[in-house]
Symmetry: C2
Subunit: 401 residues, 2 copies
């Protein structure tokens, strides 16, 4: 089985045109063209990850340069190992740009400097501008074809989660249970790759937290922490045995299609503290409330404040989004990467639009018990509440019956 | 089990001093101080990944700023969410820098620009220089403590590889075998995280190649390709059934300690073409020859040319390091990341030093059969040939007996 063809552009023609038009509309107000080199952005634009460059003018036809896989073909495609050669071809084919948009939050300083110098050699008056806002905004709103891939990931993700109670064996550590879930995920087709925008967050396949390890602060900007197995990757499972009276929070990779869903479910061994049960039900209620609020035009920050208010009214704000260390958000956009727009946070300026995909994860850390709550991935619809695409049962599930 | 303590610096005092001195010696000729923010560099410097900043002056005591995990403590450590606050404390404590070294090949353009502006607000005359060469050079030469972690990864890596024939079941695809090796690796303690310098290369846990999928070009700069399971991650296993007469090349993640070894072994189902057997033995011979050459003072490019000459003399140069697409190197430094210095390539200017860790992977792709050859991780010693730290049997191993 191979998915590769010799066409560089793997998207169907109408889908490619749709994405290109959206990008050009977003770029036109700020720049005369955009240079795209980041894997996630190239995948969004073409339907494949490749090594090279795309130049998308604000009007007109894109050009592509290949650093490897020179057999790939298409209009405007050529093999160019050096960006200087690509820039020369762009300058010969496109009107001179006075403002060039560059991936200043995705590419390294050295890469941007080199690209800028390559284009300045062709267009001496060119000025750099950031492509970040335009790319984030177009990637946040998914097309129907992208939503199909998101839903497919959600279905497979759910199939894995339904199997979790049968993967548990008495005496297991959090880490051992995680390894069995990883295997089940991979056999269900999980690609494993966990794409995060920026270079600061790292995670391998997901996070399993049991007992008080859920309260160990992590350096990474995820909703929950965990000490991890090693100081080189201080997040998630720490090798604790799963003990009676504890919860096990499972938040594992949902990248089955190149587009990832995010889903968390909570399991328990034996009976747990009533306050933990109550916090879990509150998490479900917050999700229902936010899903109802989440319509085109809704302010992301209003959703955050609604969630925080519900936690405060229940007297659970000290445990909301962590206990020793608190996460500063309750949800996030996702798709190709786990941290796309919008961000559901107190000072977010993001506004919901139809087609956005948002993971909501109102979680609580209850000392002595562990983490509770759920996470679902939702799609913002033209009208009505957001559509949940991660449908596994939401109640706390017994690992042993 | 938890490895975290409340000390930011997890390295023993003498080890920390040793690394700091090496970094300061490398920085002093080019800058008055270096700002470190990249996870891999912070881990190298302190023994843990954390979210924040380090400023290491060319002489004197480093300062650390924490963006998260504010409970961590130590000399010169403070919680500072913004780099502007950190820069102000650095300026109050350290002599003004006229040249500030920044991680221009690891940090994003936006992050470097912001850091530079923060320091320029304190030190108006400051000029940016690249920290890349200094950091690459100090990280390339491992300390005895780092070599212990490398050897420990090698031992565990070997234990997993010895189990591979028993993980195979008739009718398996490359992908299914990979999933079982992943599970065995994780149960042996593999952390999973596959750290690569730069943002362009992606790989989940490793690569399994069988038959002609070994000849599918990949966009990533690895030694071998493979179509992968999806165009969002076009490398490695593609779901092919492992067929009689084919090889299976296994090149899986060796990060068991934060320091990773790299090892490849070749398996076969039934008998394979004599030319493939011959190429495999040549790979072993190239490794022996290069291990013998690899002494302090050896030019990395001479090792590459020695390998290429042996392939050419055997009439196998068309299959050396790929067939449809050829990789441009035969080995690479490694440790915290898979692509450290030195690089064993035709135009490399790297020179071997005692304590360097180098993976050698002279591989061949034989059309109709698959990939053959081995990869080992070696340590450059003061005298004598390089020490191999990945000791699994090197011959082609039968998946079924």
């Amino acid at each position: 089985m191979t998915h590769s063809t010799d066409r560089l552009i793997l998207l169907p023609a109408d889908e490619y045109t749709l994405r290109l038009e959206r990008l050009q509309q977003a770029i036109a107000p700020v720049a005369d063209g955009v240079l795209v080199t980041d894997n996630a952005n190239l995948y969004w634009l073409t339907g494949r990850v490749f090594a090279g460059y795309a130049y998308v003018p604000a009007q007109g036809t894109p050009l592509y340069g290949l650093r490897r896989c020179a057999h790939l073909a298409g209009d405007g495609v050529a093999a160019e190992r050096k960006i200087e050669d690509f820039a020369a071809r762009v300058a010969a084919a496109c009107p001179a740009a006075s403002r060039l948009a560059l991936e200043m939050d995705a590419a390294t300083y050295a890469a941007v400097e080199r690209a800028l110098a390559a284009f300045a050699a062709q267009w001496p008056a060119v000025q750099p501008v950031s492509a970040t806002a335009a790319l984030r905004s177009v990637r946040a709103v998914k097309t129907p074809a992208q939503l199909r891939l998101m839903r497919l990931s959600g279905e497979r993700h759910e199939a894995v989660y339904r199997r979790i109670p049968r993967l548990y064996a008495p005496g297991m550590t959090d880490y051992e249970l995680q390894v069995e879930i990883e295997r089940a995920s991979r056999l269900e087709g999980c690609l494993g790759q966990f794409r995060v925008a920026g270079s600061e967050m790292e995670l391998f396949m997901g996070s399993i937290l049991t007992g008080d390890n859920a309260d160990a602060p992590s350096p990474y900007d995820f909703a929950m922490g965990g000490a991890g197995m090693d100081p080189s990757l201080p997040v998630g499972a720490d090798g604790s045995v799963i003990r009676p009276g504890s919860t096990v929070m499972v938040d594992m990779n949902g990248d089955f299609t190149g587009y990832m869903t995010d889903m968390t479910r909570t399991f328990r061994l034996g009976s747990i503290a009533p306050e933990a049960e109550r916090a879990h039900e509150l998490s479900r209620a917050i999700c229902r409330r936010l899903a109802e609020m989440g319509r085109p035009g809704t302010q992301a920050r209003d959703m955050y404040h609604a969630a925080l208010s519900m936690a405060s009214e229940a007297g659970l704000e000290n445990y909301f989004m962590g206990h020793r260390q608190h996460a500063g958000f309750v949800g996030h956009g996702l798709g190709i990467e786990i941290n796309e727009a919008p961000v559901i946070a107190p000072r977010s300026r993001d506004v919901l639009q139809e087609g956005m995909c948002i993971a909501l994860e109102p979680k609580f850390v209850i000392p002595g018990t562990g983490a509770v709550g759920i996470e679902n991935t939702y799609v913002v619809r033209a009208s009505g509440p957001m559509e949940c695409i991660t449908g596994a049962p939401e109640e706390i599930i017994d690992l042993e019956k």
